[in-house]
Every structure is written in structure tokens, then in C-alpha cells.
Symmetry: C2
């Protein structure tokens, strides 16, 4: 039934729900640590032995085009993915490398300087040391 739920969701967003696409979207929803293509591929390869890394790339590209996922380049070495497409900030701990989501008051940022610009997307990336790592040192 779960399978069917995700299938409907994809269909409602104009995406033909193949087995691979359902599994990849399900993984993104259930693993909110902003996984990379590599991580997603490795995690699903046991369930879907025939899975190709290209399919993971293709599928995420479709998700982004259809607006049900977004890409996060918070490290310049690898792109991460997020099924949460509402505007929110990301904090990366330089110690444990974990990525935290945080709420942002969108209005307060939209600066005076951009008042005549059309802003379609906004990314906020913060870097530092998280609460947990601070307390463990």
C-alpha cells in the first residue's frame, strides 16, 4: 500500500512511477540527512541489484524538474538531495559533518537591494560546529 501511495504521489506530479523511482523517492523521504547519489545508490543496490547509478542521476533530475526534490551543494565536492522543497536553511557541522535543517524567516532576508528582482529560489548555507560537538569537546 505504501508503494501505491508513493506511486500516486509521483503520478500526481507528472512522473511515471517506475519501481526505481518509487524506491528512490521513498529513500529520500525516509533519510533526511541529505544523501548523495553515491549514498542513495549504495543503499538501494541491495534491494535492487540491477540498479544503475545513471538511473539515480536521471531520476533525481526528473524529481528536481518536477519540483518534488532539490539539490544542495553545501560542499563543493558532491551534490546532496532533499525531498523537502520548501525554503529552509542548512547548517553543516565541520566536526561531525552532519547537516541540520533550520527555519528561516524568508521575509527578513529579502533585502532592499533585490526589490526589483524576481527571486525564484534561495539557499542558505551555514557552517560551524553543532551543539552536540561543542558539548563533546
Amino acid at each position: 500500500m505504501q508503494e501505491n501511495y508513493f506511486g500516486d504521489f509521483l503520478r500526481n506530479n507528472g512522473i511515471k512511477p517506475s519501481f526505481q523511482r518509487i524506491k528512490i523517492y521513498e529513500y529520500l523521504l525516509q533519510n533526511k540527512e541529505h544523501p548523495t547519489v553515491e549514498t542513495i545508490y549504495n543503499a538501494l543496490n541491495s534491494q535492487i541489484p540491477t540498479l544503475s547509478k545513471t538511473t539515480v542521476y536521471n531520476t533525481l533530475k526528473v524529481f528536481i524538474e518536477k519540483g518534488i526534490a532539490m539539490a544542495i551543494t553545501i560542499d563543493d565536492t558532491e551534490v546532496r538531495f532533499d525531498a523537502d522543497v520548501k525554503v529552509h536553511g542548512h547548517f553543516k557541522c565541520e566536526h561531525c559533518h552532519k547537516i541540520y535543517d533550520f527555519e528561516v524567516d524568508v521575509e527578513s532576508i529579502s533585502s532592499e537591494a533585490l526589490k526589483d528582482f524576481d527571486v525564484y529560489d534561495q539557499q542558505m548555507f551555514f557552517y560551524g560546529v553543532c551543539k552536540v560537538c561543542k558539548n563533546n569537546s
Copy 2:
């Protein structure tokens, strides 16, 4: 004299002022469109025919370590560089591909959720259509 001025600036920041380093820093200061390594290399190669792209990479790495420049990954395809190291936002126009700086009220963003985190760096990337492109369409 200009040469000497940049030389002193680099020295004051713990960087030995070689000819290449002076030229690269000078270029960064005078070309505020957030150039890539490729752009910097191509621009300086006529003045310095022996310049190596590796030197551009090495030099920018030193600048970043010493805190007189920063890297901007506003497109995931290439890294850009900025001699303005104070916290500010970047807007990329999807039409003309120009990158605009904008002021950000730092305090207003520092969200409640991060109150126990140490934040060392923050990047704000906005995407959309700039004022000029809006008016020309």
C-alpha cells in the same frame, strides 16, 4: 607603487608576495564579477605567459586559508572567487548569468534553531531574474 601596495597587503596577511600572487589578488580586487579559475587564468595568461593553472589554484587556496578571499559555489559546475570576505548574499540571474552582491542583515537570519551552534561562515545564494533582464523582456 600599486604593486608595492598589494605586496604589503599580502605580507601583512602572512602571504609571501610573489609576482603571480600579486597579479592574482589584484585581478580579484578589480574584477568583482566573481571569476572562476579558468577566467582568472585566461585573463592573466597574456601578462604572464608562463603562468600555470595549478598556480592559480594554489594561490587561491592560500588566499582562502589566510582569509583574504572566499570561494563561492553558486553553480554546482564551477567554483567562483571573491576578494570581499565580509558576509553578504549573492544573486545569480538565470537569464544573463550575472552575479550580484547584496547586503544581508546577519542578525535577522541567525535563527532560534541555531542558538547553541557556533556559526563560522554563512552563504546566501538567491536565484532568479535580475532587474535589467526583467525590463528587457
